[in-house]
């Protein structure tokens, strides 16, 4: 299973989850198997560079990465619709390091 975390800086599990989704600088995609981390990958968020439709661009990149769940501080109205269409679940957490947020997501 792949979980993507929206972040502004940092490349590892200590990076802080961003308060925003569509315009976050990047996503840290964490792959887990049997509740263990097997891979970590940083993906630039193309949504951070566009004038409008940021969330749609962000979600396209998550689809390309075959992400199952995405974690960020807030998801806008367009983001929610598109995530539903893409069958990607979302969890709202912000201001915490990824490793803590990851625990919460796994528990859920």
């Amino acid at each position: 299973m792949k979980i993507a975390f929206a972040v502004e800086t940092g490349e590892d599990l200590n990076a802080i989850v961003s308060s925003r989704f569509g315009r976050a600088a990047k996503f840290i995609v964490v792959e887990i198997e049997d509740e263990k981390v097997v891979n970590i990958k940083a993906v630039e968020n193309p949504g951070s560079k566009v004038a409008s439709g940021a969330a749609i661009k962000a979600i396209q990149s998550l689809i390309n990465e075959k992400v199952d769940i995405v974690v960020a501080g807030a998801f806008g109205p367009n983001a929610l619709s598109a995530l539903e269409g893409a069958h990607i679940k979302h969890v709202t957490i912000s201001g915490k390091p990824i490793k803590e947020a990851l625990k919460e997501v796994i528990e859920k």
């Binding site: 308060s19 925003r20 315009r23 951070s48 004038a51 409008s52 940021a54 806008g76 109205p77």
Partner: protein
């Protein structure tokens, strides 16, 4: 750092006037402040709070547009046929993209058979400026070029610049644009407290409910200020009962007062120009309320932060 946003849905109800006075009054409580004018179409907070000098300026590049390299172009016309905005025309055997009509979708680049004959070009859409106000705190403002839309990208960048200037316990106050579009979403997302301004007119009330759907979507605690409350008591009462039902925190009700238009003419915060006016007295009360909310933030949030999200999902019509 705490972020506050002032928004209204409807334009012209007093966001910037109220923001300016709250800023000046909060300064008296010893708060560290940064102002962000997120209305780059019609920025004027900097006029009311008197910028002494602009200390920094950066160019803002909006969406990218397409441009044809006429040396590489083989004149096949595929781009002109595909352009959904009819932005490409032919003149003297050359294909040209009208830079004002082009929306930057780059459909032309997709169909163009020649590599790099169509290039993506960022558009110089305006500037973001950092100013020093006569009160000492900084303001982040932006000026857009004609025809270039205010965007979430621009507001996000303004908020980033504000965060770079944050000192200990800084309060960032974002004066949002009107509406509930992309730039307003970018003004609200992640903000700790939202202050909504309404006037007692059916149009303002309608837009208030629309923007309130957004703050409920983001689970944000929402305060209300009714401006010119005494010009139409029936609608004021309707707004008040709506606010009560929806657990909005009533910050205050400002009476109609000619001191406000007079102070706008003089480009001064009303609180400074006419400190003893009815409006200024209420604005001082409002600033005192804001200050005490900031002092007891966690208690206040536990009462007014929505417990459940109420998603505001647009209806998307799927292709058949």
């Amino acid at each position: 750092m705490i972020e506050l946003a002032v928004a209204s849905g409807k334009g012209g109800v007093g966001k910037s006037t109220i923001t300016a006075s709250i800023l000046v009054e909060l300064l008296k409580y010893g708060r560290n402040l940064i102002a962000v004018d997120a209305d780059a179409d019609a920025p004027n907070l900097h006029l009311i709070i008197n910028v002494n000098r602009w200390i920094k300026e950066e160019k803002y590049y909006g969406s990218s547009l397409a441009e044809i390299d006429s040396l590489k172009c083989i004149r096949c016309g595929a781009c002109m046929d595909i352009c959904p905005f009819d932005a490409i025309y032919r003149r003297n055997n050359e294909y040209i993209i009208n830079q004002i009509v082009c929306e930057g979708c780059l459909a032309c680049k997709l169909v163009c058979p020649v590599e790099d004959a169509i290039i993506r070009r960022s558009v110089d859409a305006g500037v973001i400026k950092v100013g020093e106000t006569k009160y000492g705190f900084p303001i982040i403002s932006a000026l857009l070029n004609p025809g270039r839309p205010n965007t979430g990208k621009l507001v996000t960048r303004e908020r980033e610049i504000a965060k770079e200037l944050v000192k200990k316990d800084t309060i960032i106050i974002i004066d949002s644009a009107a509406g509930i579009g992309c730039q307003v979403v970018a003004s609200l997302v992640g903000v700790d407290i939202v202050i909504l301004v309404a006037e007692p007119t059916p149009t303002s009330f309608s837009d208030l409910k629309r923007i309130h759907r957004l703050t409920k979507h983001f689970m944000q605690p929402t305060c209300l200020i009714i401006n010119k409350y005494d010009i139409n008591m029936p609608v004021t009462n309707e707004i008040l009962s709506y606010a009560k039902q929806n657990n909005m925190y009533l910050l205050g009700m400002i009476p109609y007062d000619e001191a406000i238009p007079k102070s706008i003419v003089l480009t001064k915060p009303v609180i400074e120009q006419y400190p003893d006016s009815k409006a200024s007295k209420e604005l001082k009360e409002i600033a005192r309320e804001v200050n005490s909310i900031l002092d007891n933030l966690n208690d206040w949030l536990s009462k007014y932060k929505p417990k459940k999200p109420e998603p505001y999902k647009p209806i998307i019509i799927k292709p058949k």
